[in-house]
Amino acid sequence: MEKLLKELQHAELHRQTRRHFLQSAGFGLGALGLGSLLGSCGSSKAGEVAGASESLAGSGIPQFAPKAKRVIYIHMAGAPSQLELFDYKPELVKYHGKDCPAEFLEGKKFAFIQGVPKMLGPQGKFAQYGQSGAWLSDYLPYLQTVADEITFLKAMHTDQFNHAPAQLLLHTGSPRLGRPSLGAWAVYGLGSENRNLPGFIVLASGGRQPDAGKSVYGSGFLPSVYQGVQCRTGGDPVLYVTDPNGMNRNIRKKTIDAINEINRQTYEEVQDPEILTRISQYEMAFRMQMSVPEVMDVAKEPQFILDMYGVKAGEGSFGMNCLLARKLIENDVRFVQLFDWGWDGHGTNATDNVEGGLRSKCQISDKPIAALIKDLKMRGLLEETLVVFGAEFGRTPMQENRNGVVMPYMGRDHHLEAYTMWMAGGGVKRGYSHGETDELGYYGAKDRVHVHDLQATILHLMGFDHEKFTYPFQGRNFRLTDTEGKVVKQVIA
């Protein structure tokens, strides 16, 4: 009860501050949008929106100096097989085609595997690369060239074996809807820098959105200014952001001013902070009309850069998203989230499998990812930008036998016990591998890292103690890692 009263009090303060701020905002609505959306205008960038309550005052200032100022998070939706790409298991070759040992199956539930499946040997050819001797397969010929920049997390594990809940758990800390995503927390904590661009931008490729939908980059209970703004990869980056024929920028400005004025009056009446978000989004959209086409225009990029990413101006693709991510980071966008769909290699058809299907997905993505790392590095951006690569879970060392039938292609089921992710730049070690799986790659055998641990580590790199970085909602303080998570100190340089 006391907590509820306190929250009520906070809400009250929140409104008063807001009203006060509005009244004193004599220099126009533009500043209003800025004040709430961007860290550039007030010392309490987060506090500004979230209210002036004491418990929040500090949340805008990191607990320690950030090593990663910005993040590019590459999520391969569907979950690629770590056993074909990163986690070299020579022992699994010997077990290829043999029945899965009973101890791997007892009391376990899989998304599709039934009965006793056969073990499936690695399909890639592995070798060690770089001075660090990182194991990588021939699926990733380009990543090999940047192996010494990377920290691998070889024993990741999660709690969920279906795509949507696992993606939610990874990005929001909970398998259920309603929590803010990592990017939203990051912008809430550190604020946004470039006033003409959103602090959290999402780019998707592969023809489909992630299974968990927009919630994986939503703002949950944080004010919705912190949600990820999705931009399109080809054509107009943001739909309807350009002026329609016959409407010039001045008319657009007047329209927005008028709409905002009405919104402002409504806000005075009903005090819903979401109205402020709406006002600031209009302001932002107006500025984005100018800035976004400029940033998203790759026509000015030299040809060799386009070649490195393997992209053509005007064509949307995963590679293009990597290039755009670099451009956005270069323009001080805080968090860029990439999703690529189509990595769910069950073996059910010619594309969803861990042989040719996975190879062709790698052919599309491997070069631009390596190019992104090299490109960030030569611009002096890599050391302050954290690049994260991974998926919601991994894949089983067993071949999938959906409905007890052998699949037409080599495929693996969803696996939550052990999989690989990697990070580069932003204060993590270079050329390092953390954690090991057992001989067959089923369980993490050493230095396991739960998704909550990963979240804690990413927040730590951004300067936040994940246990102190909270937001009060419905009577209690929420944090990204909920009640768990341990920073993986070993991977920090």
Partner: protein, 508 residues
């Protein structure tokens, strides 16, 4: 009661450790007594003789206690015997002569001793001289021989006939080719020198163990051999490193710089391999788990011209200055003034008060606005002025931001003249001069900065050969250039063949 005290009991050591505290009392007292005596005798000050005698009395008392404590401390062992003996007798001498000087002037004896007057000054003088030499010996015992004059500057250095300053290998230098490195000389010894030999050397010999030479390390100390060749896990030196830091037997002692996990693994591996003196890495079996640790020794700069080429893993970098800098908070009004000019000002972390200032939203920011930064000169540690209108004149002012660790000057008009202005920034670690007019001369000026860790020079006037030269000459500095066409072509070729090319194995 004294007998147990005189053995190396906890009590003895407890009191003994107060020796360094007590010892400064007689030093101070004696010198002040001597000063007063001189002042009195030359007529500069007017004090009675009893003042001097009073101070002398306390000099003698404190010297006596310092001697006792010193003796108890020496029971702990681990000191160079000769030096210890000299120190002890000189210390006792200080006490004795101080007592003598006091006695001949004290109320009871002053009148009775005819030779009193003749003895007083010599005894006093001897005590003072002995204080200094004993003090010096004590310093040598604690810090090692030659500590005092280790950094004697030129020209006095050559005048005194000393060898040129030898940079102590505190931080381990990167190894260019790990496979060819001699395990003991290039890997093990540098670790021992960085973490162990400070106490286990010829003059200090803690626990009667010397770790500065392989033969002596094999011999071991009072607790037996330091390692058992072939059995890393059972070796005393490894076990001690692995003990909890709070454990009394843990080494290096609590509070001293500790070995990293990788370093312990490397030492243990070397012992496992039979602790060879001459063998190279390539001649020994390297388990997979050890490879990252080995690779971490390589961490040099990126090879010239390439963004990633050559740079192997990272030798554990020393902590950024950011971790330790702490300043007083900037004035809110000064911060607001910066924000008004369109700059982003963020506090870097909660308790250090350091500021990050970025002009990303202020492309018009120019030299005349630089003055806004001066009130927060102490606080600004990250400064991003990329794509602004700042020029060389502005850099003159930026040189005043003493706590700057990160400076972005990319896409600006700064030149060699400008960059020369900031070569005095003590903490600068990151410098981005991409797309500027800065050339080789400017680069040369700036890489002299001790703290500099990374510098980005793509599209500047810096030449490839200067990049390569800098990379060679300044290990620990990462100099990164953009791609040449050849490098892009080579990168694009990576995917051409599906055959695997294991780089690690084929590298000579």
């Amino acid at each position: 009661m004294l007998i147990p005290l005189l053995q190396a009991s906890p009590w003895a050591l407890f009191i003994g450790r107060f020796h360094p505290v007590l010892v400064h009392l007689p030093i101070g007292f004696l010198l002040i007594a001597a000063l007063i005596e001189i002042g009195r005798r030359t007529g500069k000050i007017s004090v009675s003789e009893s003042t001097v005698v009073f101070v002398l009395f306390w000099s003698a008392v404190s010297a006596t206690f310092a001697c006792i404590a010193g003796y108890l401390l020496s029971l702990g062992g681990g000191y160079d015997e000769d030096l210890l003996g000299a120190h002890m007798w000189k210390g006792i001498g200080v006490a004795v002569f101080a007592w003598v000087a006091w006695l001949v002037k004290s109320d009871r004896l002053a009148g009775k001793l005819s030779f009193g007057k003749a003895v007083y000054l010599p005894a006093f003088a001897v005590a003072v001289v002995l204080t200094m030499t004993a003090g010096h010996d004590g310093g040598s015992l604690t810090h090692g021989d030659g500590y005092l004059t280790q950094y004697t500057p030129e020209p006095f250095r050559s005048l005194a006939g000393m060898d040129p300053i030898e940079e102590k290998a505190k931080e381990i230098k990167p190894i260019t080719d790990i496979q060819q490195a001699v395990v003991y000389k290039d890997i093990v010894q540098p670790i021992l020198e960085a973490r162990c030999t400070q106490c286990h050397n010829a003059s200090k010999k803690k626990g009667d163990l010397r770790m500065d030479e392989l033969a002596l390390l094999m011999k071991g100390g009072e607790n037996g051999p330091a390692f058992v060749a072939g059995k890393g896990a059972e070796s005393d030196m490894i076990k001690r490193c692995l003990l909890d830091e709070s454990d009394d037997n843990h080494m290096p002692p609590k509070g001293k710089p500790q070995l990293s996990t990788e370093q312990i693994a490397l030492l243990s591996w070397w012992i496992d391999q039979g602790a060879p003196a001459e063998k190279k890495v390539s001649e020994l079996t390297v388990p997979d788990q050890l490879k990252p640790a080995l690779a971490s020794l390589g961490g040099g700069p990126a090879a010239g011209g390439s963004a990633t080429g050559g740079s192997a893993g990272n030798a554990k970098q020393k902590e950024s200055a950011i971790a330790t800098l702490k300043v007083t908070p900037a004035k809110e009004a000064d911060i607001q003034a910066l924000r008004k000019a369109g700059l982003i000002v963020n506090t870097l972390s909660q308790d250090q008060n350091l500021l990050e200032v970025s002009a990303v939203n202020a492309p018009k920011f120019s030299d005349k606005d630089i003055a806004l930064l001066l009130p927060v000169a102490e606080q600004v540690t990250w400064l991003k002025l990329g794509s602004t209108q700042i020029t060389d004149n502005g850099l003159k002012e930026i040189a005043k931001l003493k706590n700057l660790t990160k400076l972005h000057l990319e896409h600006t008009g700064v030149t060699d003249q400008g960059i020369a202005q900031i070569k005095g920034l003590p903490h600068l670690e990151y410098l981005n001069i991409i797309d500027t007019k800065i050339g080789d001369a400017g680069l040369k000026n700036i890489v002299a900065l001790k703290g500099l860790r990374s510098i980005y020079v793509w599209q500047s006037a810096v030449t490839d050969s200067a990049v390569a030269q800098t990379a060679r000459q300044t290990p620990g500095l990462q100099i990164v250039n953009g791609f040449s066409e050849a490098e892009v072509a080579q990168f694009l070729k990576a995917g051409d063949s599906t055959a695997t090319k294991p780089v690690a194995a084929s590298k000579k």
